[in-house]
């Protein structure tokens, strides 16, 4: 019995880090295109300056961990990285709403599912 319990705890300890990094919204994108996402591609997208001279980093700053500032209104933007702001990337509709708006503003077009997945993979990797 004692052995079983220890084994269970050990198994949990191994499994937990993976469970903690899983994100249902990201899983949804992954299932949608059956592809893989990378931190590097997401980071590149985050810093890509579009036709309106705006990048994600323009408002969200160089690090998704920082408090950002709206380019037009100066309003403070809560950090993007879930490691410092647990509310981020928890609701699929909210995530989709902001991708639609911000991809249009920064890139002048909609983002692909691949891009959304890469972006999230990058932001979720920031500890």
């Amino acid at each position: 019995m004692k052995l079983t319990l220890t084994t269970t705890i050990a198994a949990l300890a191994v499994a937990l880090p993976f469970a903690a990094s899983a994100n249902p919204v990201l899983d949804g994108y992954k299932a949608e295109i059956k592809g893989t996402f990378t931190v590097a591609a997401g980071e590149k997208l985050y810093n890509t300056v579009g036709p309106n001279q705006l990048a994600c980093a323009s408002c969200h700053t160089a690090s998704p961990k920082n408090v950002g500032k709206h380019a037009k209104t100066n309003k403070a933007i809560d950090p993007l990285a879930p490691s410092v702001n647990a509310k981020r990337f928890t609701d699929a509709a909210t995530v989709e709403k902001w991708f639609k708006r911000n991809c249009n503003d920064a890139l002048g077009r909609a983002c692909t599912t691949q891009e959304k997945g890469d972006f999230m993979t990058y932001v979720l990797s920031i500890k």
Binding site: H70, K72, T73, N74, K100, R101, D105
Partner: protein
């Protein structure tokens, strides 16, 4: 006497019209914010900027503004169709109750009352970092988001 009577009526009509047509009829509402506000309006609008009390503009302005959210002053601010309908209904139900002009500006700062009230403010004040834009009411009007714009609640930042 038969001439004077209609004349008197005409003068009375004209003066009462003039009272309503303050700022050429582009007058903000009072009260500017209802006691009960819509939660979606609060959440969505405050996502990017201060919440502008619906009484600042006439209903026609809000209708126009809410149908162009994908190009909202150069920014994509689109919301889900159901939220758009709900927020529009709240704005249109609580517009300026003093606006008699047929104009429907998208910017509060384009109204005659705004220009009349802010005419004495130097360009240097508007360009201060803490102000930045004429649309940033809260920079000086501390109660702006609660619909309070009276002179007792003004604090001009340096």
């Amino acid at each position: 006497m038969t001439i004077i009577k209609p004349l008197l009526v005409a003068v009375l009509l004209a003066s009462s019209f003039a009272a309503h047509a303050k700022y050429n009829g582009e007058d903000r509402g009072k009260p500017m914010l209802p006691a009960q506000v819509n939660a979606k309006w609060q959440a969505e609008c405050s996502g990017c900027h201060m919440v502008y009390p619906p009484g600042l503009l006439p209903a026609a302005s809000w209708k126009k503004l809410m149908t162009g959210l994908d190009k909202h002053f150069g920014v994509d601010a689109s919301v889900a169709a159901a939220d758009q309908a709900e927020i529009t209904a709240f704005l249109v139900a609580n517009p300026s109750n003093r606006w008699t002009a047929t104009t429907a500006p998208l910017r509060t700062t384009e109204g005659e009352w705004f220009k009349a009230k802010h005419g004495g403010i130097k360009a240097e004040v508007w360009s201060r970092a803490a102000v930045k834009s004429k649309s940033n009411c809260t920079a000086c009007h501390t109660g702006a988001e609660k619909g309070v714009f009276d002179e007792h609640n003004i604090r001009i930042p340096n």
